[in-house]
């Protein structure tokens, strides 16, 4: 009896802890997103204004993160870059989640030829190492941030299609789907009202966990010159531009590097926490 009470209390404490963690992460990310959304208002200097007189200044009172080789304020550029990087990554994750889930639900529900054809196509995409394939696609499409997003979307949707498909296959034979058919609901209604809510948990967790990865990959493509083009402030291309000065003026690389690091860690922690919250083993009481 005592033992049981303790476990329940422990569970409750753990649940509260997860919730607090979720709230803290959401506040931090909310601040980050706000800063990104109002980047031009938040940044202390114009991120694109060149001042060759104060080029490559060390971090100090005037420029907290220093300046780059054209004398542009690094802090302002990092803040401006957050807009480009984070919103492209969010857009990218939205696209692949929606496309992947729709394809996955249709494949999983109908099966047969449609499923076979679409899954073989997704196999083709999954057969290549992701980043290499993305570089190839971005190269063919020629650089530019929007093309980088397209390239990464091309290689990432099959993951969500696979996930959604496997989830649909586990729920589509459940009696409640049969009951919905007996209630006279059409296929589309069954998919939206009964299948989607029951598979959404796994998809949301994967999508949130993928935001960090997508930020890294977008920054990676930009680093290689296949994403954002100068002078656009973007973390990947900022690091790439500064890499020759890594030994003399490390702040030029470290500022955007730390920005990527912190953002990715935050989004990954959020993903983990969301998974803990949505875990079916924790959701005994709604």
């Amino acid at each position: 009896m005592t033992e049981k009470t303790i476990t329940i209390r422990e569970q409750k404490v753990h649940k509260d802890y997860t919730k607090v963690k979720l709230i803290i992460l959401l506040i931090l990310l909310g601040l980050l997103l706000l800063a990104a959304a109002f980047a031009s208002k938040v940044s202390p200097f114009d991120p694109y204004e060149q001042d060759l007189g104060s080029a490559l200044q060390e971090p100090g009172d005037a420029h907290i993160f220093g300046t780059d080789r054209y004398g542009r304020d690094m802090l302002s550029r990092v803040i401006m870059g957050s807009q480009t990087t984070i919103f492209s990554a969010l857009l990218l994750v939205c696209i692949i989640t929606v496309v992947g889930t729709v394809v996955g639900i249709f494949c999983g529900y109908y099966g047969g030829k449609l499923d076979a054809v679409l899954m073989r196509i997704s196999d083709i995409f999954l057969a290549f190492p992701g980043m290499v394939f993305a570089i190839a696609v971005a190269g063919v499409l020629s650089g530019g941030l929007s093309n980088a997003v397209v390239a990464l979307a091309c290689i990432s949707w099959p993951k969500f299609a696979r996930l959604a498909r496997s989830q649909v296959m586990t729920v589509k034979d459940a009696p409640y789907i049969a009951a919905a058919k007996l209630a006279g609901s059409g296929t589309v209604k069954i998919m939206i009202k009964h299948i989607l809510p029951n598979i959404a948990g796994a998809i949301i967790v994967t999508a949130v966990l993928d935001i960090g990865t997508m930020i890294m990959e977008l920054a990676g493509l930009s680093f290689l010159g296949l994403g954002a083009t100068p002078p656009t402030a973007e973390w990947g291309s900022m690091m790439s531009n500064g890499r020759s000065m890594l030994q003399t003026c490390p702040w030029v690389v470290l500022a955007p590097g730390f920005a990527i690091f912190i953002t990715v860690v935050l989004f990954n922690l959020l993903g983990d926490t969301v998974r803990d919250v949505l875990d079916p083993r924790n959701s005994a009481s709604h």
Partner: protein, 251 residues
């Protein structure tokens, strides 16, 4: 008496370990208006497959199904959905037969809303139905995992009754419940049958339940109907060897 359901030569095979396995081997029977027909047999004899074929959740390979004189086994899309005005089913596992993300009330209202009823009207009717199956109206706001199996099965019966079907298929509807709850559900079914002149196809492996509820019983063995008659006849004077074994195993 009017025939509600007529089944002729229904057949279905499955692949089991890559071997062809006949689940239902050309069975024929009919259900008359206001009648309760029992279908008994051991696990795996094809009872549930039959139920799924009649309700068109599973395709029949051969045979014809007439519901109120209309052939239904080839209907598709909107026309198929139309048959669910006349035939409804109660499933073996009550909790699984309600969407875990939907409240019980919404589950019961779904069919009415699909029939073009407004939400307000559907809600009134839903509360009536809840009363009919002796459920407190508060249960409408609960999720399936927040209620007991018996309460959930009552809600499932309410859902089946929502469109006033002429036939209800009960696929092992009481098997997952404990004995006292089973008795309550049986009482409820009896009451509903009396009051609404319902036709029922009761699929189960419990001969006592069949004797209690049914007017006529079919004994199924390895995909075939081996015996037919009133429950008392079948139980007291079994003609087939298999029926004897089945009765002996209960007593």
């Amino acid at each position: 008496m009017q025939t509600i359901l007529e089944v002729r030569g229904l057949k279905r095979t499955f692949y089991k370990d890559k071997e062809l396995f006949t689940a239902v081997n050309g069975i024929s029977f009919e259900v008359k208006k206001g009648e309760c027909l029992g279908l008994v047999g051991e696990s795996g004899c094809g009872k549930s497959t039959t139920a799924k074929m009649i309700t068109r959740l599973l395709e029949a390979e051969e045979g014809t199904i007439y519901l109120n004189g209309k052939e239904i086994q080839n209907l598709k899309g909107r026309k198929l959905r139309g048959i669910y005005d006349d035939i409804q089913m109660v499933f073996q596992t009550p909790q699984d037969s309600f969407d875990p993300r939907c409240k019980l009330g919404d589950g019961i209202m779904e069919s009415m809303i699909n029939h073009g009823m407004t939400r307000v009207k559907a809600k009134t009717r839903m509360l009536e139905l809840m009363q009919m199956v002796e459920l407190d109206s508060g249960f409408a706001e609960r999720y399936p995992h927040q209620v007991s199996g018996g309460q959930c099965q009552r809600a499932a019966i309410a859902r089946a009754l929502a469109v006033e079907p002429s036939l209800i298929v009960l696929d092992e509807a009481t098997s997952a419940l404990d004995v006292t709850v089973q008795a309550q559900i049986v009482e409820l079914l009896k009451k509903l049958q009396r009051e609404m002149n319902l036709s029922m196809l009761l699929i189960c492996h419990d001969l006592a339940l069949v004797q209690n509820l049914c007017d006529r019983v079919l004994v199924m063995y390895q995909g075939n109907i081996v015996e037919e008659g009133t429950p008392d006849e079948v139980i007291q004077n079994p003609k087939e060897e298999y029926t004897k074994i089945l009765i002996d195993s209960v007593l």
